[in-house]
């Protein structure tokens, strides 16, 4: 029961993140768009204590993102798997801090993700502006508390429903 619910929450939040990543924005605003999908994946990796859950989901979601964005097949999948893996590895350390500090601590992770995307883009002959690409790293860190509190609220409500039953 509990497992089914949390799985529903995981995929629901993944779908919303996907839509937020895809919604059309004016060009100058699109440059600042935070990396919502890796953020949501990192959140779930942080709050679920089971070792290996969420990894396969993140991989599938990455493939979906690749198809929708028209990037090399597997590019975002690779990035998301590595993000989830890194968060899982550092989980015991990260859970000691309040959420907003975790946001700061995860900044290198967004940097790694953006760098991977940049690198694979370059390897597959898709050179792009090398300076503006790093903007989402900053906005991702800035938006982390918002994403974490929204998802945390959803989780708490789900758990209260569970307790009421």
């Amino acid at each position: 029961m509990n497992r089914k619910n949390s799985r529903r929450l995981f995929w629901g939040s993944a779908l919303v993140a996907l839509l937020l990543q895809l919604i059309e924005l004016p060009h100058w605003l699109a440059l600042f768009r935070p990396q919502i999908v890796p953020m949501v994946m990192a959140y779930w990796a942080l709050v679920t204590p089971q070792q290996a859950t969420g990894l396969f989901g993140a991989w599938l979601l990455g493939l979906v993102l690749d198809v929708l964005l028209g990037t090399a097949f597997g590019q975002h999948a690779l990035g998301l798997v590595l993000v989830v893996f890194a968060v899982k590895q550092a989980r015991n350390f990260l859970v000691l801090f309040p959420m907003w500090q975790v946001g700061v601590a995860l900044l290198p992770l967004w940097l790694l993700y953006v760098f991977l995307m940049f690198w694979i883009d370059g390897a597959t002959q898709h050179q792009a502006d090398p300076w503006l690409r790093w903007l989402p790293v900053i906005t991702s860190a800035a938006f982390w508390p918002a994403v974490a509190s929204v998802l945390g609220g959803l989780r708490r409500r789900e758990r209260e429903d569970q307790a009421a039953l």
Partner: protein
Amino acid sequence: MKTIGASSRRPLFPRGPGLGLKALILTGLSLLAIVTDQRSQALAPVRDGMAWALQPVLWAAGLPSLLSDSAERLRSRKSLLAENVLLREKQLVLEARLQRLAALEAENERIRELLESARRLEEKVLIAEVLSSAQDPYRHQIVLNKGTRDGVYRGQALVDSFGVLGQIVQVLPQTSIALLITDPNHGIPVELNRTGLQTIALGRGDGQGLSLPYLPGNADVKVGDLIVSSPLGGRFPAGYPVGQIYELRHTPGEHFMEAIAYPAAKLNQGRQALLVWSESYPVAEAPPPAPAEPHRTPPAAHE
């Protein structure tokens, strides 16, 4: 339930492969997919299948801009009337011009017949709506509302009323994805309108430039020259404007001169684009298009 919830306890004996192994396998699979996707077309069916299944997501992501568009449509009657008058005037002018063009075209056709060339001046075309433009600011792609059902095929040329926009790279039943000429992956055979010099124009990836990197050092090229599409390669119809040269770069020690051009087409501004069936593509192979919509002209002077 006084103890911690079962969900937040770590199992003592986890089942299944561990985190590191699983991550390693998935990383390997991703790398394999990237390399395969780069080197071959083996993954194209998977991609097409997923793209087909994900159409609702694309549609949902396009909803906000669709809504803002329809809000724009609810403009005041007055401005619409004014626009109507303007458009009518414009049509009058264009029609007058068209009459002259008809005469010229007939004359041209006669001369071509004399030359025994089998070139058609007008191609079969189809108007497509632009559903959404690139979600990724570093890729220049647009999604169109015509697909295999309308006879669209991979590699088909796309133009707007100012020039060549790009070509179709992926076709789905009801939609298709086009790559714009400014994408760094895009190249188009072109011809300098003034001298007839044949060369290739590549996208520069900054969203507004084309680069002609393979010009001979002594080529007769000037700033302001118009470049038009060339029929070489058989993919693009001949004679559509592609861009205008605004800068020439001589790199000392290099064999080639590079020219930079602005694209002629309004790349991110229109909501409509024109799909063109090029001469070399067998139109008969395409499934029958929707009745009356594609304007076919009688094939002129075929041999």
